[in-house]
């Protein structure tokens, strides 16, 4: 009945399958709007488990439908019934805020493959919480840094009116040294940006920064491209990811976006990941898939180094982050969030497929603004 998947690559070869030593509960979004992200994280994660050939990691996967109350309920189930050791998988910050504090308080480990809300990086940090992707502000800070190097001096910035949107604009302003022409909050789920584009046209800005995840970004880019406004646009990777880029089409070509990963990062792990992912699932991997993949590899490295029943040792093993990431070197900061390089990418067309190409480095070995507030 449950979508339990047993990593069984080796199991078939053994006479008696060893009992799983580590049980992982993955709560992610697999149905409804936004399911694409959850599916990518799951597929990336499971690919790493499969490639490792281990049979001692059991993964229980459940669909949160992007509803916080369902996510909490699933977390209860994972802890109470499935008795998992480690939880992971959540895509959205609001779901993470609902689940993470309570599971870490119950002594479970949580590895975040995507969401990195600021409270969990700062005052609300926890020794059992590890973020493998980024703190939410990171990519926006990188966008601000890129805007500096690109010589922009006056930005029009916009984001939806919700916490992640506020964080995005704050993040951009934190690193951007120029002037902010105007700061606009749009409605969450808004699909028509004609009004905002008209404001951009009238603003006298020399560049546009936007954070509009999912369908909002698609709508914005298509309408922006058609509006005749030709100011350069910068944004975080979320609106330019492999999954949705095809739906934006030509409108995205040439747009610079910031990301800690791209498929052309040159290291053997990444090459193997990109190739393996395409072979396994028949599509190009996304940012989210890479994060799922790295999360699984971090877990595997810890399982190799320590027994999960020894929480302190296991935590140390996680903190060491002794694994090869698709991003190259990987290290955690004091608040268990990555210290990493964030790149500027440009949207290009390879044959019929829209994808990204790295054009430079936006921020080197970047941590986050909240680490100092974290007392572990």
């Amino acid at each position: 009945m449950k979508k339990a998947v047993l990593a069984t690559a080796m199991a078939a070869l053994m006479a008696t399958p060893a009992a799983a030593e580590v049980k992982v509960g993955m709560i992610t979004t697999l149905s409804g709007g936004g399911a694409g992200l959850g599916i990518d994280v799951r597929d990336g994660f499971m690919l790493a488990i499969k490639q490792s050939g281990r049979d001692d990691i059991e993964v229980v996967i459940e669909d949160d439908q992007r509803k916080p109350d369902i996510a909490v309920q699933l977390a209860d189930k994972m802890v109470q019934s499935e008795k998992v050791d480690v939880l992971t998988g959540i895509i959205w910050s609001n779901l993470a805020m609902a689940v993470v504090p309570s599971v870490t308080a119950q002594g479970k480990f949580y590895l975040s493959p995507n969401a990195g809300p600021s409270p969990l990086a700062g005052k609300g940090c926890h020794q059992n919480y590890f973020n493998v992707a980024w703190q939410n502000d990171n990519l926006h800070e990188a966008a601000g840094a890129y805007a500096n190097t690109a010589g922009y001096g006056n930005s029009f910035i916009l984001a939806p009116n919700y916490p992640a949107g506020t964080d995005a604009l704050t993040g951009y302003k934190r690193t951007f040294e120029g002037n902010v022409a105007s700061e606009v909050y749009t409605q969450l789920g808004q699909t028509d940006y004609a009004a905002e584009i008209a404001q951009i046209r009238a603003s006298g800005a020399d560049s546009v920064f936007f954070f509009l995840p999912g369908g909002m970004g698609i709508s914005f880019l298509k309408q922006y491209a058609d509006s005749g406004v030709d100011l350069p646009v910068v944004g975080p990777a979320f609106s330019f990811d492999q999954g949705i880029l095809q739906a934006v089409g030509d409108a995205a070509l040439g747009v610079v976006n910031t990301s800690q990963w791209n498929k052309d990062i040159d290291n053997p792990v990444n090459a193997a990941f990109v190739e393996g992912f395409q072979a396994e699932y028949g599509r190009l991997p996304s940012l989210y898939a890479s994060q799922g993949f790295d999360t699984a590899n971090l877990l595997i490295s810890a399982v190799e180094a320590a027994d999960v029943s020894d929480a302190d040792a296991f935590r140390e093993a996680l903190r060491a982050a002794d694994f090869d990431s698709t991003r190259g070197d990987f290290a955690f900061g004091p608040n268990h969030h990555p210290i990493q390089t964030i790149y500027a990418r440009e949207v290009v067309k390879e044959g019929d497929v829209f994808t990204n190409k790295i054009i430079g480095t936006a921020l080197e070995n970047h941590s986050d603004a909240y680490a100092a507030e974290c007392k572990m």
Binding site: A35, N161, Q187, A195, S219, K222, Q223, D226, G228, A247
Partner: protein, 306 residues
């Protein structure tokens, strides 16, 4: 804030309103003639957008895509009417709400099953892309002007259909007296299917037209649906004229509210907080408008019955 910007924003509001009208017209027609609340109307909008995106992807022709959207939405509408909706005409509003809510679930997840979880691509045809310069030096996207024009054409067509054609006379007769048109020997079952299909086709058309400048994705219909309900409640349920006026009101309120409320709050609040508060209030503006209209006229601006 310059006059040009204001004119441009008014145009934006009109365009949004006219697209809402395409949705609201079908809803109000279906309610007026059959007395049915159709929550699944947003799903037909989605069906139109997906059909258009799929056909445009396969053939590269935007006109074919539009035709496909009309055909697919009308066919889906007719099919749903014959299988499900038909049994609901005499049912209580409560049953209608529930059954059409169920249809939303089936349509949304069914579409996801067929097309996957990622948005589809649909673009503006080349000949309509890019901005044009209007008198007064206003740069405005051509496609949006075309949308306004297309919407007005559809409104005129609907007006012609309901007042000047045989079918229209039957439809209006149906609104007034169901027994009467049955007595006149008109096949009421077929008339109802036809009306439902027309409403669905309008929704599908709106979905395809808007899909070209937005994201074609599962769940795209519900936000529009709720706004379309606001429109017909403001306009008076059953009245096409009311739907038109209501749609423009809602379109303008939503667009202009989003622009001017934050500016307004900046007069007496600090910048960031003002933008946030203003935007929050703008998001609620159309619902507040609806509340006021209903308090003033409980059956809407042009509504005859409660």
């Amino acid at each position: 804030m310059s006059a040009i910007l204001i004119v441009e924003q008014v145009l934006n509001g009109l365009q949004f309103g006219i697209m809402l009208f395409l949705m609201a017209a079908g809803l109000t027609l279906i309610f007026g003639v059959m007395g049915l609340i159709n929550l699944a109307h947003g799903s037909l909008y989605m069906v139109g957008a997906f059909a258009a995106a799929w056909v445009a992807g396969a053939t590269g022709s935007f006109l074919l895509a539009l035709a496909a959207a009309l055909a697919a939405a009308a066919a889906a509408g007719a099919l749903v009417e014959m299988l499900v909706i038909r049994r609901l005409y005499k049912a209580a509003h409560l049953d209608q709400v529930l059954a059409t809510f169920a249809l939303i679930l089936i349509f949304s997840e069914g579409t996801r099953y067929v097309f996957g979880s990622f948005p589809l691509f649909l673009d503006i045809p080349d000949c309509l892309s890019g901005p044009v310069t209007l008198p007064g030096g206003i740069q405005y996207p051509l496609y949006r002007l075309v949308l306004i024009g297309a919407g007005i054409l559809v409104a005129l067509g609907l007006w012609w259909l309901t007042t000047r054609t045989r079918v229209g006379i039957q439809i209006r007769a149906g609104e007034n007296d169901r027994e009467m048109i049955a007595a006149l020997g008109i096949n009421i079952t077929r008339l109802y299917t036809l009306v439902f299909a027309i409403g669905a086709a309008l929704a599908g058309l709106a979905g395809a037209l808007v899909g070209a400048i937005q994201s074609v994705q599962v769940g795209m219909g519900e936000p529009v649906l709720i706004l379309a309900f606001v429109v017909i409640v403001i306009g008076g349920i059953g009245s096409i004229r009311g739907a038109f006026i209501g749609a423009l009101l809602v379109g303008l309120t939503d667009t202009l509210g989003g622009i001017f409320l934050p500016e307004l709050f900046k007069l007496f609040m600090e910048g960031g907080a003002a933008t946030q508060t203003g935007s929050a209030l703008a998001a609620m503006a159309v619902y507040i408008l609806m509340g006021f209209v209903l308090i003033w006229r409980p059956s809407g601006l042009f509504g005859s019955r409660a």
